[in-house]
Amino acid sequence: MSNFFIASGVVLCLFMLLALYRTIFGPTIIDRMMGANIIGTKTTVLLIIIGTIYERVDMFVDIALAYAMLNFIVTIGASRYFAHHKNIRAEGYGVLNHTPAKGQIND
């Protein structure tokens, strides 16, 4: 049974590698956020699997729960960025205008 869990852990890591492709190469920033979210969900599951391999699941469930919570916060935070800046591309500042402090510099 332990071998089965290790094998499924390795398979999950392989899937993560594939999801990492989206995180790294985009093409848009929102695809990256999606990739990170997928990696987060897979990690939550993998944490419990590792706990089962160690045969001490009771110690690992708390981490997985905290993990799921923080993953949620990160995703919400990242998506809220686009409530203020309407641009997908990195150039420009979107809807917001930043006024420089001294007023003399503008690019």
């Binding site: 049974m1 899937f15 848009t28 999606m34 599951v45 419990i48 729960l65 993953n71 949620f72 995703t75």
Partner: protein, 115 residues
């Protein structure tokens, strides 16, 4: 018995994770990819976690039942949070003006959004 059930549930979960990953890699635009990711991820983590929660019950004791309940808590949380996160990401994409994919005949300038 419980072992067989666990293995079956986990293989089903891994299959849906595979489907999610293929969908995320192969679908043409952001909305379709997010569709695959949001649904597949929730379902497959649900299946795997139920499998592990069952496996945890092969020795019945108060501690193990508590752990199973905790795993079900995680499940409930994922069930709440994952669709909300999907909604937030999709909304962010929609607000920032990504056009949905259309086939070749009426495709109009969306490749230029890629950075």
């Amino acid at each position: 018995m419980i072992n067989t059930l666990t293995i079956a549930l986990m293989i089903a979960g891994l299959f849906f994770f595979l489907a999610t990953t293929v969908g995320v890699l192969r679908f043409p635009d952001f909305y379709t990819r997010m569709h695959a990711a949001g649904k597949g991820d929730t379902l497959s983590s649900l299946l795997i976690l139920v499998g592990l929660a069952l496996y945890n019950l092969h020795l019945l004791s108060a501690g193990n039942i508590l752990v199973t309940i905790k795993i079900l808590f995680i499940l409930m949380f994922i069930f709440l949070a994952s669709p909300t996160a999907t909604h937030a990401i999709i909304d962010a994409g929609y607000e920032s003006g990504i056009k949905p994919w259309a086939n070749e005949n009426n495709r109009e300038g969306q490749d230029d959004l890629a950075d």
